[in-house]
């Protein structure tokens, strides 16, 4: 039962992807049906798996792709199903389902010639993305995990560059692919190191051997650090985080998928999965904690000054994923229980970040722009949407008693315990985490006051005054007719033509997922009343919890008081230089440009020049030589018989002289 469920979570979305591409074809309804049915059935399978795992315990080996014999090694491409994989699978499946349902409305219609929606390909890629993530979280072998890991990289490249008509989308897709690929190389090398040092790639055997101290320290440290590189790439942690804000070029539901369920969660999941390996080499965990602390604070500061709603949310993701990584990195528990806080934050983050992105998609859909400056007054015009957006922001800021509060404070409590156990890493993470709580409150409150409270800006005001109460009632999808002009493609570019006033209905397919995601955002803390073994390490210290909550509430209050003081945007209080610096994300892009991109491009130019002027020169010389030789030889063809005879005599003389000289 568990075996079948775990298999189906992978196979069903993959099948949906293939069928959606093969049979979706031009008939849009079919593509949408395949995608939604695929993700819905994957959700059912994941829930069944979770229930069964909770009831009957984990299954450590499920045959999947057989074994690969590589000379002396034998790699078993097997799956495993335990509480970790089943729990994350449910979160992935929920988010994927919400995204698929949402996308049927968000990417409806053929789009415009400049930004065609290409829905069938999109839906199939999302299904593929889901299947790849399911493969990563279920794989019992690092090689199989790497396959899913790379498939995710491919899917993210395709989805980020979905609107490939625009140069910025192509550049963002390329950047996402290359930057995460840098990290992926780490995973690949880690597999090689482990294969050489531990003679196996089975996760169970590696973790067992690491716990028993059977693997050499050098192998462990090298593989742990290399894996950490992959984690930093996929989870968008410093210094490989730069692709994530740029990846906002993709359609908004894709951002929800990447940020909430797949991709960025995969990195944290990998650390959690390989935690016994990391516990054997504390140095690697300390590196992870420091990376997390830097990403946490830096991304929160950068989020504070963003002028684009999606980029703000992207930086918040970097910051929140850093919380997860820190939660795993500061673990003091000797066993697997240590992953509790990090994974719990992963789950709650999946809920509220998907909610936030999908709600942001609705806002962008209404406003026709992703810029914060174009938004405002949502609370007056679309109250339900504004409340849902607010719930997401509250979860992000960690307002008690939302799920985000419990998970974040659990991480801080773990850091607190580590700090009091005498670990400097604990202090670093605790201080960074508390500082980030304040910053998170600030930028969440800033987003709320601009989007929901602030005055309706420009065209939005004109567009919305006529229809202040245009939200559809949830549940009457039949009466809700899809509107022709509500077919967003390239987020900002396409929405810009939403000028028709009084027609801003939001399709039920876009609102339902928001309500669905609001439930776990609000109530995930309930799980802690009777936690499963996976979350048994999660607890919230009273002092830490109160401190963290006070800090984030202070930040929220500070930012939300801004509209009363005149300007909804508290970021204008920052000095201009600081603000520009934060807007650029501390100019990490410029640093990378100078340190990596330019030298690589220069090297490429050198190689190209060498190829052209050295290797190609020989090739280019061949026709020139032949033509010159031909021209010389055709001069000899005079047609005069006497001239030919002269050549003959000349040849005879040359041969005679040669014979005499050489004899």
């Amino acid at each position: 039962m568990i075996e079948s469920a775990a298999l189906l979570t992978i196979v069903l979305p993959a099948t949906a992807a293939v069928l959606g591409l093969a049979m979706g074809g031009r008939s849009r309804p079919w593509a949408g049906d395949w995608a939604v049915v695929g993700s819905l059935s994957a959700l059912v399978a994941a829930v069944v798996e979770l229930v069964q795992v909770l009831r009957h315990g984990p299954v450590t080996s499920i045959g999947f792709l057989g074994r690969v014999e590589l000379g002396t090694f034998s790699i078993g491409l097997d799956l495993r199903a335990d509480q970790l994989s089943a729990t994350v699978a449910v979160a992935v499946a929920v988010v994927a389902l919400c995204v698929q349902v949402y996308s049927t409305a968000y990417l409806s219609g053929p789009g415009t010639p400049e930004a065609p929606t290409r829905y069938p390909a999109y839906a199939a890629t999302v299904s593929l993305f889901t299947a790849a993530m399911m493969l990563v979280i279920h794989s019992g072998d690092l090689v199989l995990l790497l396959i899913g890991w790379e498939a995710m990289g491919l899917a993210s490249y395709l989805l980020v560059g979905h609107h490939s008509e625009r140069a910025s989308a192509r550049a963002a897709a390329m950047k996402a692919f290359l930057v995460t690929r840098v990290g992926d190389l780490g995973v690949l090398f880690a597999v090689v190191v482990l294969l050489a040092g531990a003679q196996t790639t089975s996760i169970a055997q590696i973790t067992q051997a690491a716990t028993d101290g059977e693997i050499g320290h050098g192998t462990l440290l090298a593989s742990a650090l290399l894996l950490l590189g992959g984690v930093a790439g996929k989870s968008a942690q410093f210094p490989l985080h730069t692709w994530l804000p740029d990846a906002m070029e993709g359609p908004t539901p894709v951002s929800a998928l990447i940020h909430a369920a797949t991709m960025v969660a995969a990195g944290v999941f990998l650390v959690a999965r390989m935690l016994p390996l990391y516990l054997a080499v504390p140095g690697a965990l300390q590196v992870a904690a420091v990376i997390a602390a830097i990403s946490m604070v830096g991304a929160a500061l950068a989020a504070l000054a963003q002028d684009d709603l999606k980029r703000l949310l992207a930086y918040s993701t970097i910051s929140q994923v850093a919380y997860m990584l820190a939660g795993v990195a500061v673990t003091q528990a000797g066993g697997v229980e240590g992953i509790g806080p990090g994974i719990f934050h992963l789950l709650s983050h999946a809920a509220f970040k998907a909610l936030l992105f999908l709600a942001a998609g609705c806002v962008i859909h209404l406003v026709g722009s992703t810029m914060l400056a174009d938004m405002g007054g949502l609370l007056r015009t679309h109250r339900a949407l504004a409340v849902l957006f607010g719930i997401g922001l509250a979860g992000l800021a960690g307002v008690p008693p939302l799920g985000g509060f419990w998970s974040k404070e659990a991480v801080l409590t773990a850091a607190d315990e580590a700090a009091h156990a005498g670990s400097w890493v604990g202090w670093v993470v605790l201080l960074a985490g508390l500082g980030t709580s304040l910053l998170t409150g600030l930028y969440a409150g800033r987003a709320w006051s601009i989007v929901a409270l602030g005055p309706p800006a420009g065209s939005l005001e004109a567009a919305l005054v006529g229809a202040p109460d245009a939200l559809p009632a949830i549940g009457d999808a039949e009466t809700e007719e899809p509107h022709e002009t509500l077919a967003p493609g390239a987020d900002a570019a396409l929405h810009a033509r939403h000028a028709a006033p009084g027609t801003h209905h939001l399709p039920a397919a876009m609102m339902l997922p928001l309500y669905l995601l609001a439930i776990p955002t609000l109530t995930l803390g309930v799980v802690l009343i009777n936690p499963p073994a996976l979350l048994s390490g999660v607890h919230v210290d009273l002092v830490t919890g109160v401190t963290g909550a006070m800090l984030s509430l202070a930040g929220l209050g500070w930012a939300m008081s801004a509209p009363r003081l005149g300007a909804p945007d508290i970021a204008i209080a920052l000095p201009d230089g600081t603000r520009a610096l934060l807007l650029d994300g501390f100019r990490v892009d410029a640093v990378q440009q100078a340190l990596i991109v330019r030298p690589v491009l220069a090297l490429a130019r050198v190689v190209k020049a060498a190829d052209w002027s050295v290797i190609d020169a020989y090739v280019r010389a061949v026709p020139i030589t032949a033509r010159t030789g031909g021209n010389l030889l055709r001069r000899a063809q005079t047609g005069l018989a006497t001239a030919y005879a002269a050549w003959l005599v000349l040849g005879a003389v040359v041969i005679a002289i040669a014979g005499v000289v050489l004899a």
């Binding site: 063809q637 047609g639 005069l640 018989a641 006497t642 005879a645």
Partner: protein, 151 residues
């Protein structure tokens, strides 16, 4: 045994006259005679060389000494000369036939008047027969065939 200098000088003279005739004469028959002279220079050398004793020039005995045995009973030099005469006969037959045809066609045996095979010739063409055909006449017919089939 006569001295070697005689046949050698004779061969050189024949070869020199032959080369001169080959290169300098314009009349095709005289050019052929030059070629014949060259061949006969070779014949004289071959016959002379076949009279040498085994060991070649170095083995020639001083005057007064008994001449050595001619070691090659097959007289390969003389046989080669017979070959050359035979081939020369065949060659001159073919060549004279060509000259005859040339004269019939052009009413001249002057070699400088026939250079159609050379690029420098005013009447030279890369495609001796193609110029008469209407260029591209077959092309539209071939192109129309698949177009008609698909419609």
């Amino acid at each position: 045994m006569i001295h070697l200098i005689g046949p050698a000088v004779l061969a050189s003279a024949l070869a020199g006259i032959g080369v001169y005739g080959l290169l300098a004469r314009r009349n095709a028959v005289l050019v052929l005679i030059g070629a014949e002279l060259l061949l006969n220079a070779a014949n004289v050398l071959l016959v002379t060389a076949s009279a040498l004793p085994a060991g070649g020039l170095a083995a020639i005995p001083d005057p007064g000494e008994a001449p050595g045995e001619i070691t090659d009973p097959l007289l390969s030099g003389q046989v080669m000369a017979i070959f050359v005469i035979t081939i020369a006969a065949a060659e001159i037959g073919v060549a004279l036939a060509i000259v005859l045809l040339l004269f019939r066609a052009r009413q001249t045996a002057d070699l400088t008047a026939v250079e159609e095979l050379g690029e420098a010739s005013p009447t030279y063409t890369e495609n001796p027969t193609g110029a008469a055909e209407p260029a591209g006449a077959a092309q539209p017919a071939g192109a129309a065939q698949p177009a008609g089939g698909s419609s």
